[in-house]
Symmetry: none
Subunit: 259 residues, 2 copies
């Protein structure tokens, strides 16, 4: 692993620590989810679980990063020889990405049959995407460029399938929702597409600059920011949708509540 | 303990870490158990406790594994001399296996008298099974093969008794349940039988290959996958049964819910 300047080391280290706090805080908020109807609690519970898992993994990731570099004086950090464990991120994604799909589909509250089919397809594609990406990620920095790019391309196929499916579903769902929810669903669509794009971009930058401190820093910062927005940020949008629908149900339909 | 390749070490290490996250996530989910009627909450609370205990033990198991091996360069991990503590698994099973029985019997909601008798028999058999298995497990790798196999056979007797009892009870219970629960109970029966079989298989493979890195890896991977499915996976089946029974109760009353 290339050496890092003190500045680069601190950016990565501090961002990871901030992420532990951010994911933990988000977990508490989603579990308590004030002002949300019972009906939407499952989506918020899943959001809370996603950021709890991420919080655990960032504790591990931070520890692994700390162990893999040591200050060698003069504002430079050099590799200790103890490898940074990339797998924590992939283990995290393997559990959380299918749950993010559950979260999204739960808050859309599609008809039951449609939900199940959609979820199965998305969950299988997500597991494939992550499993296919890992061999490439593990090869970054080993000099084996063919492996890095073949697996990247393989992983991008389910990635693009998921994006297209989500885009289609969210666009269709938008049309049948009440007015006040419509703009929030558009926001959810935007958040999914923008934050998810961070992952392949971080991978490419990291792979191209694997031998430089800047490349190492960029990939860690990229993945961490992507995780923060795709999990905690996305959860907040889900919360906003659930909140808006909670108020909406009461205001417009005036149905007796079973909560 | 035999040396491990970097690949073998990482498989065991990463699977254990993933299990910490998976058990923790499952605990949160079971404790919150969205959409489940009050009546079935006890079964879900017990499920949550089981995976919480497992989460704690996997933190310890991971730490013990990490301490028992060190990278000696060239992609090889050698034993540090600090022994890997097998007892964490047995301590975990000693508490969680009787609770898994409670979980199952609770969700079946058998008549009270029947439940109590069944539970007592199953809990005693489970404690015996684990207590008899440990002396054999502790002897794996010491070269004392008689001890390894005598205790294995002793432990298999209560194991087979439990399997036969559960199989009979679950099969009988299936017949008196509503339609939508029946297939889930069959699934529960399948999960119990398949995942529980993993334990003796992992023991045998581990005992036969105790002097090789492959054998060491196989026993750890086997036990870990078995724990994940027998605790978190089984809990999900229990959740599905409770959820189906909850909806079922309400549907007959005439209140179609869309949660």
């Amino acid at each position: 692993m290339p050496e890092l300047s003190s500045f680069q080391y601190n950016i990565v280290y501090n961002l990871m620590s901030l992420t532990v706090a951010g994911m933990g805080a988000a977990a508490l908020f989603f579990f308590l989810s004030p002002g949300v109807d019972r009906k939407f609690k499952p989506a918020l519970v899943v959001s809370g679980i996603v950021v709890s898992i991420a919080c655990y993994h960032y504790v591990r990731i931070l520890g692994s990063f700390e162990g893999s570099y040591a200050s060698s004086g003069g504002g430079v950090y050099t590799a200790t020889g103890k490898p940074f464990n990339d797998f924590y991120r992939y283990a995290d994604w393997l559990i959380t990405v299918p749950l993010l799909m559950v979260e999204l589909v739960a808050v859309l509250a599609l008809a039951k049959d449609e939900s199940r089919k959609l979820l199965t397809r998305l969950a299988v594609a997500a597991a494939l995407m992550i499993a296919l990406g890992y061999p490439g990620e593990a090869a970054i920095g080993t000099g084996n460029d063919t492996v890095v790019w073949v697996w990247f391309v393989a992983s991008m196929l389910p990635f693009l399938y998921i994006m297209a499916t989500l885009f289609g579903t969210l666009t269709r769902a938008t049309q049948t929702q009440p007015e006040n929810v419509r703009s929030l669903l558009s926001l959810a669509r935007l958040v999914v597409i923008v934050t998810w794009s961070f992952y392949p971009i971080a991978y490419v930058i990291g792979a191209l600059g694997a031998s430089s401190g800047t490349g190492r820093t960029a990939i860690q910062v990229g993945y961490t920011l992507a995780d923060l927005t795709a999990k905690a940020g996305f959860g907040l949008v889900i919360y906003a949708i659930a909140r808006a629908k909670s108020t909406g149900t009461e205001a417009t339909v005036g149905q007796p509540r079973t909560a």
